[in-house]
Amino acid sequence: MLAFIIRRLAQSVLVMLFVALIAFVIFRYVGDPITSMVGVETRLEDQEIMRDRLGLNDPVVIQFARFIGNALQGEFGISYRLQQPVTELILSRLPATLELAVASALIALVFGVVLGVFTALRPKSFVTAGIMAASLVGVSLPTFLIGIGLIYVFSVELGWLPSFGRGEVVDLGWWRTGLLTESGLKSIILPAITLSLFQLTLIMRLVRAEMLEVLRTEYIRFARARGLTQRAINFGHALKNTMVPVITITGLQLGSVIAFAIVTETVFQWPGVGSLFITSVQVVDVPVMAAYLMFIALVFVLINLIVDILYYVVDPRLRVDGGASGN
């Protein structure tokens, strides 16, 4: 167990180092840090002194080591555009994105499982055919068009829900939440649905496939022979056994949800990390770009690590060959 965890940890650290190298290259070589810090009037000699003092003339290896040292302390420099520490900026935007991501993951999980079970239990119904066709169309639609469509129907035509922003937020000290006010709850509905649709179809198709598989097995037939009720068979026996892969996929997809939030946040003007990243790409705000890259990579690596360890705990078969990666 311990050896397995250590090996996975080492792999994660390697991936993080690789991403850090990319982030460092972006940070250091895209644009000149000095030119973006000083005005036009600064003399060349002064620029040279600054360069020296900031250590930009040191060997690249030392600079990279320093970059990693700073990153470990959560230090990514100052945003060129907003003149604030990057870490502070990202942390202040994080709650909005996380609330959105978790809300949409919940929607995707609940509706995905319900629809998946339904389509598996009634494979010949025309409702199933409709759901499957809709899911195919849903997958090929770009996220931003889904968002715009929802805005048009529910905000412009019906006027039920707000089309942008987070509504009123409550400050809990270190976490600004929108989930405690009515306007905040109303505001999160449309973006969460938009963000969830892709995962929803994924989970639905997965549950359906797994259920169809499980329903054919011997122990289900035996349960029928024992005279158990349909409900007990379908939910107590069949669904329970499909949940492990479903929860894994939902967990692994949480990282993608956070990254896909870039698009959704732009459509709904949601003040999260994603919209911060988009504006920094537009104006080439290099420190924010580098820090966001590191942040997303960390989220992905952590989720992968947790899922792998959970797998190891749940599924004893993996222990034989030392735990091949589940990804």
Binding site: S140, I148, I151, A259, V263, V281, M289, F300
Partner: protein, 324 residues
């Protein structure tokens, strides 16, 4: 995709039956054409995709207006609703006019031209890069294989859009401001292509590792054929089937990715709007009721992505009946 090497034919003997079968005849008799004929959805998707592509290619000749010639624009035409004027009047707009008085139909024609160009070029780039790296990794194995596939693994675990955004941002920082407008389209192609190569590499590598062990490859190797020649002439034709499938689906993904980037405002320059840019513009007028500026480009994008996607799905089933 059976292009196995045939030995040089012996001189034709008088008994050899004549083979009048033309290439067309052979194609019409093939399994692929049969499965195409049998699927109405696929026929519809093919017709839709080909029509849209044809319209995009012919845009400069068939578009009713030239939307990018300032001389032909009239701001007074701005926000004209669709078919509000008689068809014989001076300023007749089938799909209405946008905020600057540009004919929406014409901007869509030119816009799909940009979208398709970027999509095709990016997919080609990803295909060449991915197939090349996949062949190299699969044939050589060892260290090269490990490095290439590790990078592909890492990249595949991040969404393509995020990688494209990063590459775009980096390229923007490297290119001097004076060239940004003219280079933007190529930067976009580079970004989308680089974010999609890993799929090709992974598939081709797997297929190459299978082919590598077969006798015809050993034979070629023993005959002293250069490894690069073995890869290109012998192995490549045999792994092209899945590449074609991934390429088609990749084209749909690339078109959507381009539209998303342009919608986010980091894609093509506003002087050369793609479908995504048009949707971005149209979104601003949704609240004031000018729905057609958004609606028609969006429908075009959906039709384009959906039809190419369906073609890819069909191709996958047709080339690999086991995978149903």
């Amino acid at each position: 995709m059976s292009m196995t090497e045939t030995p040089p034919r012996p001189p034709a003997t008088p008994q050899a039956p004549p083979r009048p079968e033309s290439r067309l005849r052979r194609f019409l008799d093939s399994d692929i054409f049969y499965s195409w004929k049998r699927s109405p959805v696929t026929i519809l998707a093919t017709v839709t995709a080909l029509t849209l592509i044809l319209i995009a290619i012919l845009a400069p000749w068939i578009a009713p207006y030239d939307p990018f010639n300032p001389a032909s624009l009239n701001l007074m035409d701005g926000f004209t609703p669709p078919v509000s004027q008689g068809p014989f009047s001076e300023n007749w707009f089938l799909m209405g006019a946008d905020n600057q008085g540009r004919d929406v139909l014409s901007t869509i024609m030119y816009g799909s031209r940009v979208s398709l160009f970027v999509g095709f070029m990016a997919t080609m780039f990803a295909m060449v890069l991915g197939v090349g790296l996949g062949l190299t990794a699969g044939y050589n194995g060892g260290m090269i294989d490990a490095v290439i596939m590790r990078i592909a693994d890492i990249q595949l675990s991040f969404p393509a859009i995020l990688i494209a955004l990063l590459i775009f941002g980096v390229a923007r920082g490297m290119i001097p401001a004076s060239h940004q407008e003219s280079m933007a389209i190529w930067v976009l192609i580079l970004a989308i292509g680089l974010s999609n190569w890993a799929q090709f590499a992974r598939t081709v590598r797997g297929a190459t590792m299978v082919e590598r062990e077969k006798d015809y490859v050993s034979a070629a190797r023993i005959m002293g054929v250069h490894p690069i020649l073995i890869l290109l002439r012998h192995i490549l034709p045999n792994v092209l089937g899945p590449v074609l499938v991934i390429g088609t689906i990749g084209l749909a993904l690339a078109i959507i990715e381009e539209a998303t980037l342009s919608f986010l405002g980091v894609g093509v320059p506003p002087t050369q709007p793609s479908l995504g840019t048009l949707i971005r513009i149209g979104q601003q007028y949704l609240f004031s009721g000018e729905w057609w500026i958004l609606f028609f480009p969006a429908v075009t994008l959906i039709l384009l992505a959906l039809s190419v996607n369906l073609l890819g799905d069909w191709l996958r089933d047709a080339l690999n009946p086991k995978l149903r």
